[in-house]
Amino acid sequence: MSTENYLELRIDQFLERLADGEAPGGGSAAALTVAVSAGLVAMVARASSESWEEAGGIAAQALAILEHVGPLARTDAEAWQDAASALRGADGGDAERRNFALAQKLERAAAVPLEIAELAADTAALAALAGERGDGTHRADAASAAALAAGAARAAAHLVEINLGVTDDDPRLRRVRDCERIAAESAARALGSVR
């Protein structure tokens, strides 16, 4: 398994890896989309510091999310590769042990996109604020950030659902759907504020 740090790759190199093999995949792409969105929010907030009192605090939160979510691109790829290897039965051992190990790995493979979805929802909320209160020149960037974050939340929620393969009343599923809904509502607010 590769231990390459995606954050140290050039963008074209990362895109090449994305197109190339099993990992990075959807979760990594969602994590980096949230990072891009958080970067946009920070930019809008920083550019609005003269007219928006809370701008500095919003930028700081966006940067904290950016720092947190970037490394999840790698974490997600590792968790998924691990689970995929278990799904192929590469781990050996008796059936009961294999099934237990597989369940553990799938749980892990779902936990990372769940975290990405939470961060996406927070980023979308920040983007909506930036869209409503930020400098007019940059509101379209804030709306773009919110739309990207909402897309990432939706993608991450889908991955959680697939990886867990559980029923609707599973608390993790409810949690991730909450994130998806919050992000979608924030994006609708942000997009509405620039129309």
Binding site: G57, A60, Q61, C179, I182
Partner: protein, 186 residues
């Protein structure tokens, strides 16, 4: 009764100068982690050398506190004293611990980070409990707005703005802190 840990550095110094033993204990308590961190993480002294510097720093602070002209300059004064004693210790042949970080993270950068972290920590103490709690949850515990909202029973849509206002107050605290040069002969 005044809680000693809520006093400013200057007030603590004034009480120590007046011979208040409890204030002295509070001063040691407030700065012991700071001094240890400079020795162990800033200068990477070995534990036994760090312990010697620690004892020496507080002995000198106790002996020379009356010479500190600007009482709010306690922290930079203690920092300067600790740095000097660490350098003396290294010059006398003590060895640094093996590097646990890349060489590029040099000593000055580490010391700056320590200073900044402790300044933020002190400034945080002057914020309301709610602000401290929210900043800790978001920045240190990486909690989401949804989690903060449900645990503190605050509407989710207001969390980001509340955190931003708390950060604004923290900024005012940090900017308002004097950074006077050390005012003692020690």
């Amino acid at each position: 009764m005044t809680r000693l840990d809520s006093l400013s550095d200057a007030e603590l110094v004034r009480r120590c100068k007046a011979g208040d033993a409890e204030a002295w204990n509070a001063l040691v308590d407030r700065f012991s982690r700071y001094v240890s961190t400079i020795c162990l993480r800033g200068f990477r002294l070995r534990a036994e050398d760090a312990e010697d510097v620690f004892q020496d720093v507080f002995t000198r602070v106790y002996t020379n506190l009356h010479t500190l002209r600007n009482e709010s300059a306690l922290r930079p004064w203690i920092a300067q004293l600790t740095r000097r004693l660490c350098l003396d210790t290294l010059a006398s042949g003590a060895r640094e611990q093996p590097e646990a970080e890349p060489i590029s993270v040099d000593r000055e950068a580490r010391l700056d980070e320590i200073d900044e972290a402790f300044a933020v920590r002190e400034a945080l103490h002057n914020l309301s409990d709610t602000c401290q709690d929210m900043l800790d949850r978001f920045f240190a515990q990486d909690q989401s707005y949804r989690t903060i909202s449900s645990e503190l029973d605050i509407p989710s849509g207001t969390i980001a703005s509340r955190i931003a206002r708390c950060l604004g107050k923290l900024r005012v605290e940090l900017e308002g802190r004097s950074d006077p040069s050390a005012g003692s002969r020690e």
